[in-house]
Protein backbone atom coordinates (compact mmCIF):
# COMPACT_ATOMS: atom_id res chain seq x y z
CA UNK A 1 0.00 0.00 0.00
CA UNK A 2 1.27 3.44 -0.90
CA UNK A 3 0.21 6.57 0.92
CA UNK A 4 -0.07 9.85 -0.96
CA UNK A 5 1.54 12.93 0.53
CA UNK A 6 -0.52 15.47 -1.35
CA UNK A 7 -2.12 17.36 1.52
CA UNK A 8 0.83 19.69 1.98
CA UNK A 9 0.20 21.32 -1.40
CA UNK A 10 -1.93 24.46 -1.37
CA UNK A 11 -5.17 23.52 -3.14
CA UNK A 12 -5.91 25.57 -6.21
CA UNK A 13 -8.99 25.66 -8.41
CA UNK A 14 -9.21 26.64 -12.04
CA UNK A 15 -12.42 28.44 -12.90
CA UNK A 16 -13.54 29.95 -16.18
CA UNK A 17 -14.17 33.46 -14.89
CA UNK A 18 -11.69 33.92 -12.05
CA UNK A 19 -8.62 32.06 -13.27
CA UNK A 20 -6.54 30.45 -10.57
CA UNK A 21 -8.20 30.86 -7.20
CA UNK A 22 -6.73 29.98 -3.83
CA UNK A 23 -9.23 27.91 -1.85
CA UNK A 24 -7.76 28.56 1.57
CA UNK A 25 -5.68 26.79 4.17
CA UNK A 26 -4.90 23.23 3.13
CA UNK A 27 -6.28 20.51 5.37
CA UNK A 28 -3.75 18.70 7.55
CA UNK A 29 -2.50 15.42 6.12
CA UNK A 30 -4.24 12.26 7.39
CA UNK A 31 -2.76 10.66 10.52
CA UNK A 32 -1.21 7.74 8.64
CA UNK A 33 0.67 10.08 6.29
CA UNK A 34 1.84 12.20 9.20
CA UNK A 35 3.11 9.08 10.92
CA UNK A 36 4.79 7.84 7.75
CA UNK A 37 6.60 11.14 7.31
CA UNK A 38 7.60 11.18 10.99
CA UNK A 39 8.82 7.59 10.75
CA UNK A 40 10.90 8.46 7.69
CA UNK A 41 12.43 11.45 9.49
CA UNK A 42 13.18 9.32 12.57
CA UNK A 43 14.75 6.58 10.45
CA UNK A 44 16.87 9.17 8.60
CA UNK A 45 18.12 10.31 12.00
CA UNK A 46 18.91 6.74 12.95
CA UNK A 47 20.90 6.23 9.72
CA UNK A 48 22.82 9.46 10.42
CA UNK A 49 23.40 8.38 14.03
CA UNK A 50 24.96 5.10 12.91
CA UNK A 51 27.10 6.81 10.28
CA UNK A 52 28.43 9.10 13.02
CA UNK A 53 28.92 6.16 15.40
CA UNK A 54 30.88 4.21 12.80
CA UNK A 55 33.01 7.26 12.07
CA UNK A 56 33.76 7.68 15.79
CA UNK A 57 34.47 3.98 16.25
CA UNK A 58 36.82 3.81 13.26
CA UNK A 59 38.79 6.78 14.60
CA UNK A 60 39.04 5.06 18.00
CA UNK A 61 40.06 1.78 16.41
CA UNK A 62 42.83 3.30 14.31
CA UNK A 63 44.89 1.27 11.86
CA UNK A 64 45.58 -1.74 14.10
CA UNK A 65 42.20 -2.86 15.39
CA UNK A 66 41.85 -5.57 18.01
CA UNK A 67 39.40 -8.44 17.53
CA UNK A 68 36.61 -6.90 19.66
CA UNK A 69 36.97 -3.60 17.82
CA UNK A 70 36.67 -5.30 14.44
CA UNK A 71 33.60 -7.17 15.69
CA UNK A 72 32.04 -3.88 16.80
CA UNK A 73 32.63 -2.15 13.45
CA UNK A 74 31.26 -5.14 11.51
CA UNK A 75 28.22 -5.37 13.78
CA UNK A 76 27.43 -1.66 13.65
CA UNK A 77 27.72 -1.75 9.87
CA UNK A 78 25.13 -4.53 9.83
CA UNK A 79 22.69 -2.61 12.04
CA UNK A 80 23.23 0.54 9.97
CA UNK A 81 22.33 -1.45 6.84
CA UNK A 82 19.10 -2.64 8.46
CA UNK A 83 18.14 0.95 9.25
CA UNK A 84 18.77 1.88 5.63
CA UNK A 85 16.45 -0.97 4.61
CA UNK A 86 13.79 0.36 7.00
CA UNK A 87 14.18 3.83 5.51
CA UNK A 88 13.97 2.57 1.91
CA UNK A 89 10.83 0.55 2.67
CA UNK A 90 9.14 3.44 4.45
CA UNK A 91 9.95 5.80 1.58
CA UNK A 92 8.55 3.31 -0.91
CA UNK A 93 5.15 3.67 0.81
CA UNK A 94 4.98 7.38 0.03
CA UNK A 95 4.01 8.94 -3.28
CA UNK A 96 5.92 12.09 -2.78
CA UNK A 97 4.98 15.31 -4.46
CA UNK A 98 6.35 17.59 -1.80
CA UNK A 99 9.84 17.51 -0.39
CA UNK A 100 10.15 15.63 2.87
CA UNK A 101 11.21 17.75 5.81
CA UNK A 102 14.64 16.83 7.07
CA UNK A 103 14.65 15.59 10.64
CA UNK A 104 16.73 17.40 13.20
CA UNK A 105 20.35 16.36 13.30
CA UNK A 106 20.93 13.53 15.79
CA UNK A 107 22.35 14.52 19.13
CA UNK A 108 26.10 14.49 19.50
CA UNK A 109 27.30 10.97 20.24
CA UNK A 110 29.68 10.15 23.09
CA UNK A 111 33.22 9.21 22.11
CA UNK A 112 33.86 6.43 24.63
CA UNK A 113 32.87 2.99 23.31
CA UNK A 114 30.83 2.21 26.42
CA UNK A 115 28.79 5.42 26.25
CA UNK A 116 28.48 5.28 22.47
CA UNK A 117 26.83 1.86 22.60
CA UNK A 118 24.64 2.90 25.54
CA UNK A 119 23.38 5.88 23.50
CA UNK A 120 22.59 3.66 20.51
CA UNK A 121 20.77 1.11 22.70
CA UNK A 122 18.69 3.89 24.22
CA UNK A 123 17.81 5.30 20.78
CA UNK A 124 16.78 1.85 19.49
CA UNK A 125 14.56 1.05 22.47
CA UNK A 126 12.94 4.49 22.36
CA UNK A 127 12.25 4.13 18.62
CA UNK A 128 10.69 0.70 19.13
CA UNK A 129 8.45 1.92 21.97
CA UNK A 130 7.38 5.00 20.00
CA UNK A 131 6.41 2.97 16.92
CA UNK A 132 4.37 0.44 18.92
CA UNK A 133 2.51 3.31 20.54
CA UNK A 134 1.47 4.70 17.15
CA UNK A 135 -0.25 1.70 15.57
CA UNK A 136 -3.84 2.59 16.41
CA UNK A 137 -5.85 3.58 13.34
CA UNK A 138 -3.19 2.78 10.75
CA UNK A 139 -4.12 0.86 7.59
CA UNK A 140 -3.37 -2.86 8.12
CA UNK A 141 -0.37 -3.26 5.82
CA UNK A 142 1.28 -0.08 7.09
CA UNK A 143 0.65 -1.20 10.69
CA UNK A 144 2.37 -4.50 9.89
CA UNK A 145 5.41 -2.69 8.50
CA UNK A 146 5.59 -0.38 11.54
CA UNK A 147 5.24 -3.32 13.97
CA UNK A 148 7.96 -5.25 12.15
CA UNK A 149 10.34 -2.27 12.21
CA UNK A 150 9.55 -1.76 15.91
CA UNK A 151 10.48 -5.40 16.56
CA UNK A 152 13.66 -5.10 14.51
CA UNK A 153 14.78 -2.00 16.38
CA UNK A 154 14.16 -3.73 19.72
CA UNK A 155 16.33 -6.68 18.63
CA UNK A 156 19.18 -4.27 17.98
CA UNK A 157 19.38 -3.59 21.73
CA UNK A 158 20.67 -7.05 22.82
CA UNK A 159 22.75 -7.22 19.64
CA UNK A 160 24.44 -3.93 20.56
CA UNK A 161 25.02 -5.19 24.11
CA UNK A 162 26.88 -8.18 22.70
CA UNK A 163 28.89 -5.95 20.39
CA UNK A 164 29.79 -3.66 23.27
CA UNK A 165 31.22 -6.72 25.04
CA UNK A 166 33.13 -7.60 21.87
CA UNK A 167 30.97 -10.66 21.12
CA UNK A 168 29.88 -11.20 17.50
Amino acid sequence: MVLAASAGVLPLALTACKGVQVLGTPPPPPADIRLLRAAIAAEEQMVARYAAALHTLKITVGTHPTYPQTVRVTGLTRVAREHTEHLDELKSRLIQNTPLPHGAAPAQLPTSTEDLFAALEHAEQAASDRLIGQLDGLPPSFAQLVASIAASEATHVPYLRNLKAGRP
Binding site: R81, S128, I132, L135, Q144, A147, S148, A154, T155, P168
Partner: protein, 139 residues
Protein backbone atom coordinates in the same frame (compact mmCIF):
# COMPACT_ATOMS: atom_id res chain seq x y z
CA UNK B 1 -15.08 -9.64 15.58
CA UNK B 2 -14.95 -10.34 11.86
CA UNK B 3 -14.28 -13.85 10.50
CA UNK B 4 -10.86 -12.65 9.27
CA UNK B 5 -9.97 -11.35 12.73
CA UNK B 6 -11.10 -14.58 14.37
CA UNK B 7 -9.06 -16.60 11.87
CA UNK B 8 -5.93 -14.52 12.61
CA UNK B 9 -6.42 -15.05 16.35
CA UNK B 10 -6.95 -18.79 15.88
CA UNK B 11 -3.83 -19.00 13.68
CA UNK B 12 -1.77 -17.23 16.34
CA UNK B 13 -3.19 -19.59 18.96
CA UNK B 14 -2.28 -22.62 16.83
CA UNK B 15 1.25 -21.27 16.45
CA UNK B 16 1.58 -20.78 20.22
CA UNK B 17 0.25 -24.28 20.88
CA UNK B 18 2.84 -25.72 18.49
CA UNK B 19 5.57 -23.53 20.04
CA UNK B 20 4.71 -24.79 23.51
CA UNK B 21 5.01 -28.37 22.28
CA UNK B 22 8.27 -27.64 20.45
CA UNK B 23 9.97 -26.05 23.44
CA UNK B 24 9.00 -29.07 25.54
CA UNK B 25 10.97 -31.22 23.09
CA UNK B 26 13.99 -28.98 22.49
CA UNK B 27 14.53 -28.08 26.15
CA UNK B 28 15.46 -31.68 26.90
CA UNK B 29 18.47 -31.41 24.57
CA UNK B 30 19.91 -28.30 26.22
CA UNK B 31 21.70 -27.74 29.49
CA UNK B 32 22.73 -24.94 31.81
CA UNK B 33 21.92 -21.38 30.76
CA UNK B 34 20.43 -22.49 27.45
CA UNK B 35 18.03 -24.84 29.18
CA UNK B 36 17.00 -22.05 31.56
CA UNK B 37 16.42 -19.79 28.55
CA UNK B 38 14.36 -22.51 26.85
CA UNK B 39 12.29 -22.95 30.00
CA UNK B 40 11.61 -19.21 30.22
CA UNK B 41 10.65 -19.09 26.54
CA UNK B 42 8.41 -22.14 26.98
CA UNK B 43 6.56 -20.38 29.80
CA UNK B 44 6.25 -17.19 27.69
CA UNK B 45 4.60 -19.17 24.89
CA UNK B 46 2.23 -20.85 27.33
CA UNK B 47 1.23 -17.47 28.76
CA UNK B 48 0.64 -16.08 25.26
CA UNK B 49 -1.37 -19.20 24.35
CA UNK B 50 -3.59 -18.67 27.38
CA UNK B 51 -4.04 -14.97 26.57
CA UNK B 52 -5.12 -15.81 23.02
CA UNK B 53 -7.50 -18.47 24.32
CA UNK B 54 -9.05 -15.91 26.68
CA UNK B 55 -9.39 -13.31 23.88
CA UNK B 56 -11.18 -15.77 21.59
CA UNK B 57 -13.44 -16.99 24.39
CA UNK B 58 -14.27 -13.43 25.46
CA UNK B 59 -15.38 -12.70 21.89
CA UNK B 60 -17.86 -15.57 22.13
CA UNK B 61 -15.95 -18.10 20.01
CA UNK B 62 -14.46 -21.49 20.72
CA UNK B 63 -10.66 -21.66 20.68
CA UNK B 64 -9.20 -24.38 18.48
CA UNK B 65 -7.96 -27.32 20.53
CA UNK B 66 -4.29 -28.11 20.73
CA UNK B 67 -3.05 -31.22 18.90
CA UNK B 68 -1.79 -34.19 20.86
CA UNK B 69 1.50 -34.11 18.96
CA UNK B 70 3.15 -32.00 16.23
CA UNK B 71 5.46 -32.85 13.38
CA UNK B 72 8.51 -30.74 14.09
CA UNK B 73 10.20 -28.90 11.19
CA UNK B 74 13.62 -29.76 12.63
CA UNK B 75 14.62 -33.21 13.88
CA UNK B 76 16.04 -32.56 17.35
CA UNK B 77 18.91 -34.80 18.44
CA UNK B 78 21.50 -32.36 19.77
CA UNK B 79 21.95 -28.91 21.30
CA UNK B 80 22.61 -27.44 17.84
CA UNK B 81 19.36 -28.83 16.38
CA UNK B 82 17.50 -27.75 19.52
CA UNK B 83 18.71 -24.18 18.93
CA UNK B 84 17.74 -24.45 15.25
CA UNK B 85 14.22 -25.52 16.25
CA UNK B 86 13.93 -22.64 18.72
CA UNK B 87 14.85 -20.15 15.96
CA UNK B 88 12.39 -21.77 13.56
CA UNK B 89 9.61 -21.70 16.16
CA UNK B 90 10.16 -18.03 16.96
CA UNK B 91 10.23 -17.04 13.28
CA UNK B 92 6.99 -18.93 12.59
CA UNK B 93 5.21 -17.40 15.59
CA UNK B 94 6.47 -13.94 14.59
CA UNK B 95 4.82 -14.36 11.18
CA UNK B 96 1.50 -15.21 12.81
CA UNK B 97 1.66 -12.18 15.08
CA UNK B 98 2.49 -9.86 12.18
CA UNK B 99 -0.61 -11.25 10.44
CA UNK B 100 -2.58 -10.48 13.60
CA UNK B 101 -1.32 -6.86 13.57
CA UNK B 102 -3.55 -6.37 10.51
CA UNK B 103 -6.57 -6.67 12.81
CA UNK B 104 -7.90 -3.16 13.41
CA UNK B 105 -9.10 -3.62 16.99
CA UNK B 106 -6.62 -1.43 18.94
CA UNK B 107 -6.18 -3.85 21.85
CA UNK B 108 -5.65 -6.89 19.62
CA UNK B 109 -3.24 -4.94 17.40
CA UNK B 110 -1.17 -3.72 20.32
CA UNK B 111 -1.07 -7.22 21.81
CA UNK B 112 0.07 -8.59 18.44
CA UNK B 113 2.74 -5.91 18.03
CA UNK B 114 4.13 -6.54 21.51
CA UNK B 115 4.17 -10.28 20.86
CA UNK B 116 5.90 -9.68 17.52
CA UNK B 117 8.60 -7.82 19.40
CA UNK B 118 8.85 -10.51 22.09
CA UNK B 119 9.19 -13.35 19.58
CA UNK B 120 11.72 -11.40 17.50
CA UNK B 121 13.76 -10.81 20.67
CA UNK B 122 13.66 -14.52 21.50
CA UNK B 123 14.69 -15.37 17.93
CA UNK B 124 17.72 -13.08 18.14
CA UNK B 125 18.60 -14.52 21.57
CA UNK B 126 18.87 -17.97 19.95
CA UNK B 127 20.37 -16.97 16.62
CA UNK B 128 22.47 -13.95 17.55
CA UNK B 129 21.32 -12.30 14.34
CA UNK B 130 18.76 -9.51 14.14
CA UNK B 131 16.48 -9.18 11.10
CA UNK B 132 15.45 -6.01 9.28
CA UNK B 133 11.79 -7.05 8.99
CA UNK B 134 10.82 -9.77 11.49
CA UNK B 135 7.73 -11.65 10.34
CA UNK B 136 7.45 -9.80 7.05
CA UNK B 137 8.61 -10.67 3.57
CA UNK B 138 9.84 -7.47 1.98
CA UNK B 139 10.92 -7.74 -1.65
Amino acid sequence: MSPAELRALQDALAAEQAASFGYGVLGAHLSGAEQRQARADWVAHQVARDQLTAMITAAGWKPIPSAVSYQLPVAVHSAATARALAIDIENRVTQEYIALVAVTSPSVREFAARQTRATALRAVAWSGNPQAFPGLRVD
